[in-house]
């Protein structure tokens, strides 16, 4: 019998106590499986991540809208896949829960977009034709040119653009696309010769001397 059940049993069968034991007022901690803390994480961080991953923020409609927007912002091209192929919608979902200050601009922004699309095209954004979606995006994709009734939409789209880029270029696909080739043990021996030449730069004499400064062994 679990502790919680035994306490319940005590209060039901009654031992003549006018008041239940104080302990009974405090619910027993829920049965949780011990969490495996991944390397490099503190326990509280691992617990927090597990909790957030178990929660759901976007509705199906919102997630669909986010996915369409991501792929309009970063589509597949000859070099790499699209934002959704790189898992960006799931990243954005996580960031909504991780940093709740994102929630209102995101949820409200999607509502704004749907309201505006219903006004313009009679349908919510996700249900619009591709041509209508692009027509809508054109109104909000260039903040400095947004018309007065489109400025909130421009802010929302910039927010989406930044979240999408952040998610895409930190994915395996995006890092390959951007051409970052580090994060691996190596020897740094300066800027490649051809690049130095391209920029008309050179190292100082002392920098290319072997074992400079000589007196480090003293």
């Amino acid at each position: 019998m679990k502790r919680r059940d035994s306490l319940k049993a005590i209060s039901l069968t009654g031992f003549g106590l006018a008041v239940n034991p104080v302990e009974a007022a405090v619910p027993a901690p829920p049965d949780v499986k011990p969490l495996k803390v991944p390397g490099g994480r503190q326990k509280f961080e691992a617990e927090r991540d597990a909790k957030l991953n178990a929660e759901k923020f976007f509705t199906a409609h919102e997630l669909q809208t986010v996915t369409i927007l991501c792929d309009i912002i970063i589509p597949a091209d000859e070099k790499s896949g699209s934002a959704s192929q790189a898992g960006v919608p799931a990243f954005i979902e996580f960031m909504m829960k991780d940093q709740p200050r994102n929630q209102t601009p995101m949820r409200g922004g999607i509502r704004w977009l749907d309201n505006t699309c219903v006004k313009r095209y009679g349908k919510k954004f996700a249900l619009c034709t591709k041509a209508q979606q692009i027509d809508m995006v054109e109104q909000i994709a260039y903040p400095s040119q947004a018309k007065p009734d489109m400025t909130q939409g421009a802010s929302f789209f910039s927010f989406m653009r930044n979240m999408t880029a952040s998610g895409f270029f930190t994915s395996q696909m995006g890092i390959k696309d951007i051409g970052y080739v580090g994060n691996t043990p190596n020897q740094w021996d300066g800027v490649p010769e051809d690049v130095l030449k391209q920029y008309g730069l050179a190292y100082e004499e002392r920098e290319i001397k072997k074992d400079w400064p000589e007196d480090y062994k003293k």
Binding site: G39, P213, D215
Partner: protein, 581 residues
Amino acid sequence: MDPFQIQKAPVQYDVAIIGSGAGGGMAAYTLAKAGAKVVLLEAGGYFDPADPKYITQLKWPWESPRRGASTTRAFGDFDAAWGGWEIEGEPYSAKPGTEFHWFRSRMLGGRTNHWGRISMRFGPDDFRRKSLTGVGDDWPITYEDFKPFYDRVDKMIGVFGSIENFPNEPNGYFLPPPKPRLHELMLRKGAQSIGIPVIPSRLSILTKPINNERGSCFYCSQCGRACQAYADFSSSSVLCIPAVKTGNVTLINGAMAREVLTDPQTGLATGVSYVDTRTLEEVTVRAKSVILSASTCESARLLLNSKSSRFPQGLANSSGVVGKYLNDSTGASRSGFVPALMDRKRYNEDGVGGMHVFTPWWLDNKKLDFPRGYHIEYGGGMGMPGYGFGGGIENMNGRFPGRDGKMKPGGGYGASLKDDYRRFYGAYVGMAGRGEPVPLESNYCEIDPNSVDKYGIPTLRFHYKWSDYEIKQAKHMQDTFEQIITSMGGTPLGNKPGPENNYGLEAPGKIIHEVGTVRMGNDPNKSALNKWQQAHDVKNLFVVDAAPFVSQGDKNVTWTILAASMRTSEYLIDQVKQKNI
């Protein structure tokens, strides 16, 4: 178990050290090597940069669900510092109209696990600013007192750099510095063309092996994550773990020091009372000497909380100076965009953690309207993308022509936007000034009469305001940053910070270089410690973090903490041998 039960350990140690950062690590190492029996108390958990349990080095951004964002760690998911400016259950406060942000790392090695490894000696002038300028105070010692210890720290721990023979940037025993990256060569060429020196940085990273215990740098640029090869200086890997290996150090993690205990008759320190952070039990350790190295503010807090009838103002505080003269580095920054770096050739330019070149203070304050200098740190290059990558492109891609040479409005979407991210990657530079403030008595921490932390220990309340000296220095930084960015053909980004926001001067505590709260001096009425960092009032009590420092120079203070702690530890050994303690 009764949480208020007091456990008394039967052992009497030779020395109890509170805190395992640079100062405490060096003290534990030096004393243990000399044969002393040491108990090392650390409020946080155990940490070894080489244990996979703790390693974040060489992880990829997608291994973090938030891609390394700073939600739970101030410098992001992969940073090695546990803790931050805010710690659950460990509050602090500030007096109205003032602010101070207190960064704490609760872990073996403290903040040295993630620091920038910028390892500069103070120069001769840094010890005598009052004599030179009439503002501030002189130290009770000179560069010559510290020089032998700086030399030994260089050789023992390792630092790269270059012999420059600058009068106030002393030479050291340097390992070879890494060659500058492309943007650093451009910065150097630009800055030198307008008379601003740019020299190899001085970082405690091993570009050559120095012993069999530590590896050498493999150029991943991630010193902030702590190095599994022990190729950078962290107190955990380089001092604490080797000290424990001597067999002479008892390391106690989860020991939140509450009070230094004293004998009411003799007034000598007898040990430390701490709260076990797991059980919340109060535990006492006894020791013949006590060394505080809990960090500048934490050491002051401990002394102020160690009140007794014999020491009603707190321990080592008959002068009333404990907590006062708190000072952090000034900091201001600016970034720029370098069109010549668009569409760069890709190659691995990670290099060491942080900058390969920097600018030491190069001007004469007598000709300026502020009394202290600053150095400049540089950033940029083709770094590993992290959370926030590409942010704000709508303010950038409308300012520079596309591949077709045509301008377009900022923002956008689709294939051309995707291409812009590639074109702009690696074309940014950043620079940050780190300057010397004038320590003021009116900037202080004190015990908050109304608050305790979750361990029941009274907390700190800060009172800190920048003076005109620091604001004028920040103004000078901003002018210089624009000149440097322009000199290399770059475009400064954002609006130039002006008087409306103190020229971008960061709030006190944000640079995490705070010093000065338990200052040393020759006059016991004006200082808490003598020139050996030994309490005037309690001869078996020492402070070896940055709290004793009279000022902080325009240098990062860790190398000086190490040199001073080594010097004090050897003084203690000598005093014990002479039976003075």
